[in-house]
């Protein structure tokens, strides 16, 4: 799961299985198989197997189940529009996790960053309600990115300067953000029309993202950001000075220091980029889908993004592809509810793909070998002359 490390993965501890002369041992392959291929392949095998098993767990017939999945995703225009819309925050969340992951840092606070991004964007939109779109929209996106970065700043500083695990702190910040959002959405910004629900007043219509018409498919232009950013980050990682520093520090902090890199600055900067992407996901979701601040603005996107980043092995193109695959799965989950299926089934499928993907990667890196126990000649009788 980690980005390539030189540690030997031997489990031949001398004290174990001493009774047998032959034993199984997990060894690192001298030449790993194609990691990407095995990981993605395993994810697809997981999806196919779990989809094949799906009818066993619903009351609906296999035919209705599959046809509703098909029409809810790729089979119809509305289905496809749905897939693209869900893909936007998923891909951005995937990036928000995968960019720090290149430095072995975990951003588990994407949901919180989404909340804070949406909150900041909402605040800006209220204050600039009289402005035109080309003023208000960039400012909202910018504010959301700043808010996401601010939200990850404290855990980042604690990690870099005090060694506090960012896994715990970024995760806990999610709940703080949720509380903050609830306060504003039920208090100062409470919409009278919400009728007891947690909704803030809708953002002004000039703050809505415009729609793209591609033939007969209509989707907000956030999709361009979601498709463009992975490519931009992929290129930056391969070709920029920053990308080189992240690659080398991620593989060995000591080597980064040795090369004269500012390791701390790189760690902090990269985490802040992760936070900013989380905030951006929140703003795009608000401005393209929800139009008002509500806890539903995340819809578990952050955790799905984390899974995507892990399965993609922190490869941005992989994040893009898996983001689309997962949005197809989530759209299918919505669709099967109509025919009596449970949307939770999709979360089971996502969990299964994670397990498969992890095994696929392990298989590409490791193999089982059967070896003779060495060096036992003094405690066991010699065989032969």
């Amino acid at each position: 799961m980690t980005i390539e490390s030189p540690r030997p993965m031997l489990s031949n501890y001398a004290g174990l299985s001493r009774a047998s002369r032959l034993r199984w041992r997990i060894e690192r392959r001298a030449h790993p198989l194609n990691l990407g291929l095995f990981r993605f392949g395993a994810v697809f095998v997981g999806i196919l197997l779990s989809l094949a098993a799906a009818p066993l767990f619903t009351s609906a017939s296999a035919g209705t189940l599959y046809s509703s999945m098909w029409s809810g995703t790729l089979g119809t225009t509305t289905g496809f529009e749905n897939v693209l819309t869900i893909a936007i925050p998923l891909i951005l969340s995937g990036l928000a996790a995968s960019i720090p992951y290149r430095l072995q840092l975990w951003n588990v606070g994407i949901d919180g960053q989404i909340y804070m991004g949406a909150w900041a964007a909402t605040g800006i939109s209220y204050h600039l309600a009289s402005q035109r779109s080309f003023v208000i929209i960039p400012l909202m996106l910018l504010a959301a990115m700043v808010a996401g970065s601010v939200w990850i700043l404290l855990p980042t500083l604690a990690r870099v300067y005090l060694g506090v695990s960012e896994v715990i702190t970024t995760f806990l910040m999610n709940f703080v953000a949720l509380g903050w959002l609830m306060y504003w959405a039920t208090g100062p910004w409470y919409a009278p029309s919400a009728a007891g629900g947690v909704f803030a007043i809708a953002i002004p219509t000039q703050a809505d993202l415009g729609l793209l018409h591609l033939n007969n498919i209509v989707v907000d232009w956030g999709i361009l950001i979601a498709l463009g950013l992975p490519l931009a980050f992929w290129a930056a990682n391969r070709y920029s000075r920053w990308g080189y520093e992240v690659t080398m520090i991620g593989a060995s902090e000591k080597a980064g220091r040795y090369a004269g890199m500012n390791v701390k600055r790189t760690l902090i900067g990269t985490m802040l980029i992760g936070g900013a992407l989380g905030g951006l996901a929140g703003a795009l979701n608000l401005m393209g889908t929800n139009y008002q601040l509500t806890p539903g603005v995340t819809n578990n996107t952050g955790f799905n993004g984390l899974i995507i980043a892990v399965l993609a092995g922190a490869n941005e193109i992989g994040v893009l592809m898996l983001g689309i695959v997962y949005s197809i799965l989530l759209s299918a989950g919505d669709a099967i509810q109509v025919v009596g299926g449970s949307a939770d089934m999709v979360f089971a499928v996502i969990g299964i793909t994670l397990i498969f993907g992890t095994f696929g990667e392990a298989y590409a890196r490791l193999h089982l070998v059967r070896t003779r126990t060495p060096g036992m000649s003094s405690t066991e009788p010699e065989v032969g002359p």
Partner: protein, 507 residues
């Protein structure tokens, strides 16, 4: 050496051999330890002391040989069984649970602790144990809040409380402050007087002479001699420890050079180590162009700190380091001033094993033209730079996309040394540059250092291998307890005299 099976022997090792792949760490070694003695195991780093004792304590399974405790033969490879037989080991790196209290750590794995115990009961138990073995610890304190010396006492108490009658300590003073070390030695003498056998692994001569009853000297996996303390002096021991190595790296043939201008100037350098203990005390020297200066000393006498100070990775308390009169105040400034650096940890610090050869080739100059322009790393230039390097050092592969962990140790060091000994550098800091390499690869690295020096570089060689330093260096500096205690030129270098100074003898 013949072993008489004496009933007063607490532990006897017979014909122990331990190999790691090609390397023979311990060669058919036999040694016995008496009841109630402090027995020091002395030798340079890599002599095989720790390996031998890890075998005795069941942490490693030997390839050959047997272990006898009180006339009983002991099975191999089980620390638990060894401890049950009365042999316990305290490692250099403590094996305590930092978040647990002292009392809890003492209870982990103990047989006499019921599975349902209150913290109060555990603390009471710890207090009684501390009293019984006369080792003072604070039972209620969490381990992370303890000093290294206190942690060590917890380790010792834990080992003793499991019934250890032979206590092995692996370089116990390495992590201690001088006061703590003195206190430890007093405690060990008292424990030996009570009948416990103490095996004390060390490479510090003075310490060994002050605490041990008998001293065994190891070198290259073999036992040289076991002596009573009364017939041992710094001179006799250091002569054994640093005696000429038969495979001989000293036939290198020292090259005659005319050194040039002063490049590296280290003046009045004093610095603390990570524990805040003074590690270097008023060290001054210069390294000139076309000159190799070797720094020798027993590990832990300030070499690490000197290395860090010269490469810009540590701030001095006093004094300064300059390269071509430019002060060094950070890693970046050292690189800019023309410092090349071959660190001891080649796969991890000097090279990134999981990355390609070409990414590693530009590690120290990735900010310079033409590899980097306006923040873009230009792969074409980087790869052609790497190709030239690979061709120049005659690497086993010419494909610069090969990952470094696929290279052998020798090839990795060729890549690292080749990268550093080039690029318009002024001075090279090389730390144990041939450690772990086979003879041919080591020879290639030495030749490349010598050639680079002939071509106008200044070289500071920090080496734990006296033979190597004598074979390569134009001048030798001896470091002992953070001070330069001797300086020799290639002509007047007397290895016995150097060995004595390394061991701490007064000049």
């Amino acid at each position: 050496m013949t072993i008489v099976n004496n009933h007063s022997d607490a532990l006897t090792l017979r014909g122990i051999e331990k190999r790691f792949g090609e390397l023979v760490a311990v060669k058919r070694l036999s040694l016995s330890f008496r009841r109630g003695e402090v027995h020091a195991l002395l030798g340079e780093n890599g002599a095989g002391k720790s390996t031998l004792m890890n075998v005795a304590a069941g942490f490693l399974t030997p390839d050959e040989g047997e272990i006898e405790v009180g006339g009983q033969r002991l099975g191999f490879g089980s620390p638990r069984a060894s401890l049950a037989a009365g042999i316990g080991m305290v490692h250099q790196h403590f094996r305590l649970v930092e978040k647990f209290t002292v009392a809890e750590n003492l209870a982990v794995g103990a047989d006499d602790v019921s599975s349902i115990s209150t913290p109060r009961q555990l603390i009471e138990r710890a207090r009684l144990l501390a009293e019984k073995f006369d080792i003072s610890v604070d039972p209620a304190s969490p381990v992370w809040a303890l000093s290294e010396g206190e942690k060590q006492r917890v380790e010792i108490l834990r080992t003793m409380s499991r019934g250890a009658r032979v206590l092995i300590l692996d370089e116990p003073t390495a992590v201690l402050t001088p006061d703590e070390a003195t206190r430890l030695c007093t405690n060990l003498r008292a424990m030996a007087a009570e009948g416990t056998t103490i095996i004390f692994i060390s490479h510090k001569l003075n310490e060994v002479l002050s605490v041990a009853d008998r001293i065994s000297v190891m070198r290259h996996g073999s036992l040289l001699e076991t002596r009573e303390r009364s017939d041992s002096t710094v001179a006799t021991l250091s002569k054994m420890m640093f005696a000429e190595h038969e495979t001989g790296t000293n036939q290198l043939g020292h090259r005659q050079r005319d050194s040039g201008e002063e490049i590296l100037i280290v003046s009045h350098l004093s610095a603390d180590d990570d524990r805040g203990v003074p590690a270097l005390d008023d060290v001054s020297f210069v390294v000139r162009q076309r000159e190799i200066v070797g720094v020798v000393g027993v590990a832990g006498n300030g070499q690490k700190e000197l290395e860090q100070l010269v490469t810009g990775d540590r701030r001095p308390q006093e004094g300064s380091v300059t390269i071509d009169a430019r002060p060094i105040d950070g890693i970046r400034s050292a690189i800019k001033a023309g410092l090349a650096y071959i660190p001891e940890d080649r796969k991890g610090t000097g090279l990134v094993p999981s990355q390609s050869i070409w990414r590693n080739a530009i590690l120290r100059n990735y900010l310079e033209q033409p590899v980097n322009r306006h923040g873009i790393i230009r792969g074409r230039h980087a790869r052609s730079f790497a190709s030239e390097l690979v061709a120049r050092v005659e690497l086993s592969t010419s494909d610069t996309a090969t990952l470094v962990h696929q290279l052998s140790g020798g090839n990795a060091q060729k890549l690292l040394a080749g990268r550093e000994l080039e690029q318009r550098r002024r001075i090279v800091v090389a730390v144990n540059p041939t450690q772990g390499l086979d003879i041919k690869a080591a020879e290639a690295v030495r030749t490349s250092l010598s050639d680079a020096c002939d071509n106008g570089l200044a070289i500071l060689l920090i080496s734990a291998d006296l033979d190597e330093a004598l074979g390569l260096a134009d001048r030798i500096l001896v470091l002992y307890e953070g001070r330069v205690v001797g300086e020799f030129t290639a002509h007047d270098a007397d290895r016995d005299h150097i060995g004595m100074l390394m061991g701490g003898a007064r000049q």
